[in-house]
Assembly symmetry: D2
Homo-oligomer: 215 residues x 4
């Protein structure tokens, strides 16, 4: 099995992004699955193009995009991506789409193809706070999640797509009092646990397996 894991480059006023920092530190193999790591730009459109090239090049079974969610307390696999770009700030190329559909022929939303509850359980089992999130926002994070799910549904039927948000790093909250953070080691451990859950859950979408909780 092959899993593509992407991480965004830094954006806004930050010079560091926990997403790509953690992705870089992932092992090359997780419970037998090959992990392919990719840095993608925090840019509408371009992030999807870069990811698509990797999907074409590598014959992957899963793609997991990692993004930063400043202000969140825990590791949050996302449940759903919506067909909407609505940017409060410009992306790294200066684009700031307002209330624009991502794909004219796409569904209004796509549910994740990853076992998000099993991923949450796996991360809590290694001592890290985690929960399923019901919104990836309307910035580049939701955009790449939607784009990957759109591609999985239309162009790469073998691929199962999903997204996970991670908190700020401690370094990022030095001048942000009252903002939660998680260490890079813990974020990396969490992503590893989530990927293990993906591998172990692969092919098992029978309701009985996870106590009636799938997605």
């Amino acid at each position: 099995m092959k899993i593509l894991v992407t991480g965004f480059d830094p954006f806004g006023t930050d010079t560091m992004n926990p997403a790509i920092e953690a992705v870089k530190r992932l092992p090359n193999t997780i419970v037998g699955a090959e992990i392919i790591k990719l840095e993608i730009p925090t840019v509408f459109g371009k992030s999807a193009e870069v990811t698509r090239e990797a999907l074409v090049k590598h014959d992957v079974d899963y793609v997991l995009n990692i993004g930063q969610a400043g202000g969140r307390f825990d590791l949050t696999p996302e449940r759903v991506a919506i067909n909407l770009d609505d940017a409060r700030i410009p992306d790294n190329d200066g684009n700031q789409p307002i209330d624009v559909a991502i794909k004219a022929d796409g569904e209004s939303a796509y549910f994740t193809q990853h076992p998000v509850k099993a991923m949450v359980t796996a991360m809590k089992n290694v001592g890290l706070p985690a929960s399923v999130s019901n919104t990836a926002g309307t910035f580049v994070c939701n955009h790449i999640m939607y784009q990957c799910l759109y591609m999985a549904h239309t162009e790469f039927p073998k691929v199962k797509a999903g997204f996970m948000h991670v908190p700020f790093l401690p370094e990022q909250v030095l001048e942000r009092p009252g903002m939660p953070a998680m260490s890079l080691e813990d974020i990396t451990r969490g992503i590893v646990a989530a990927l293990e859950a993906i591998v172990e859950f692969d092919g098992k979408d029978d309701l009985t397996i996870v106590g009636g909780q799938t997605h």
Copy 2:
């Protein structure tokens, strides 16, 4: 013009729900529109049946469901409802659906038909904190929003549906330190301002009207 405004009854450990309390206090007419008020049960399925009866009985142009979002700091019109029930706690009839689609033939999500950004602006203009939310959760609030949008798309083409979450009341946070609250007077004022925005925005979905920001 006629607007149906619904509010949930209390649920969980609370004996009071700001949603129905505020709805009860709305005036009967807002900038010429007739306001029809309805209490609905915090119950999957039944809440939609009760609302549907009102839609059949009254020939309304809009339906706005109001619900409580304990922990939120501001008034939050919801952007989108997703086709999923996933209840962390039982509803008032003991139902606790886990990862169940609301409508087998429904879309994966429906975007609100209300001018949520204009509603937010109107509420801020009367001095109340407000923002567009991108998730109504997966409990009865998302359920009724999805059901109303489903009905609007399939059975009541004249109706425009939408949902707004409101914070706890001060009385509700006496034993919940660190939880934000908003007074009943302010919640009611906020709903009035949001309804005024709906009436004034009616028929004007031209992008130029709200500076390129639609709903």
Copy 3:
């Protein structure tokens, strides 16, 4: 009985201060006690001089200073004032003392002379969140509380001094997402309830009266 209630003028980037706004709206009499209202400047030293003049002029039994604590969720009578000025930002006259003792001959701290637990109970009884706070910070709020307690201990033995912090108003958090607020009506109601508790508690410092909880 006479009670002097002071409120600070606006400071920092705010054009409004809930402290003085609420003080202005207090009734002139509360359960028989005369309420004397006074606006004081958010300035080290000068705030104490202005308050001292009022203490000299009016023959008061209590002085209650009200100040804003942006970020707090509830109404918080303060338990203790410490002998230290340490300003993160300049006051309204540009003073920014760093780690300076307020009174060279003062105690390291003074405990409030107000029945803070009875005040908290009274505010909760009228439906408002409240709790005893153990720090008034090190800015002008702690300064005036310390100064008034110092004066009560050294110059005005009849006077009982104390301080209460109040949250932001809703108008103040429009551009501060994630910040709690309380309506001006509720803040005013809360101060009235606290003053009623002060009057009713006057002279009763027997432990049995408040269930073993004094101040």
Copy 4:
């Protein structure tokens, strides 16, 4: 130089306390200073007796007590301890003092004898969020800080006492959504940085050294 560092045992519903866990992991020597580690009980009175025995036994220059502050986002050296026990919950021996002075002949408060601003700077310099706190509460944490400062002022004039609060561990917030945490590695690194600052700052209480900021 010798520094005694104490950490509390677990209390309340928790089976783990980051304070003692981090203290256990400290090196035995920090920039030349010998570190003596001591677990103390979360019990009024007894915690002070155990610490006093260590002060008698070891001829230390500093004592730093470490305690957990659930809900805090960062590492917080405390500025001041007040002469008051007021327990919201019983301690580990079932004691629950309400509004009781710790020492009848003690000062109303003692300021820390540690260079808290230098400690904060040192912790931020290693990438960890930190700030000076102005309240250690009124439970066993404030109690031990007050007791140690009282002993330093009355019985052990050579000793300089101080206290630091640390956040929950990630494991402790698994069932506490919305609560911040810090990894044990980072808490330990933070304490090491703070101890380095104490050693380096020793004997230098000239204002010019730290830009006019003392302790």
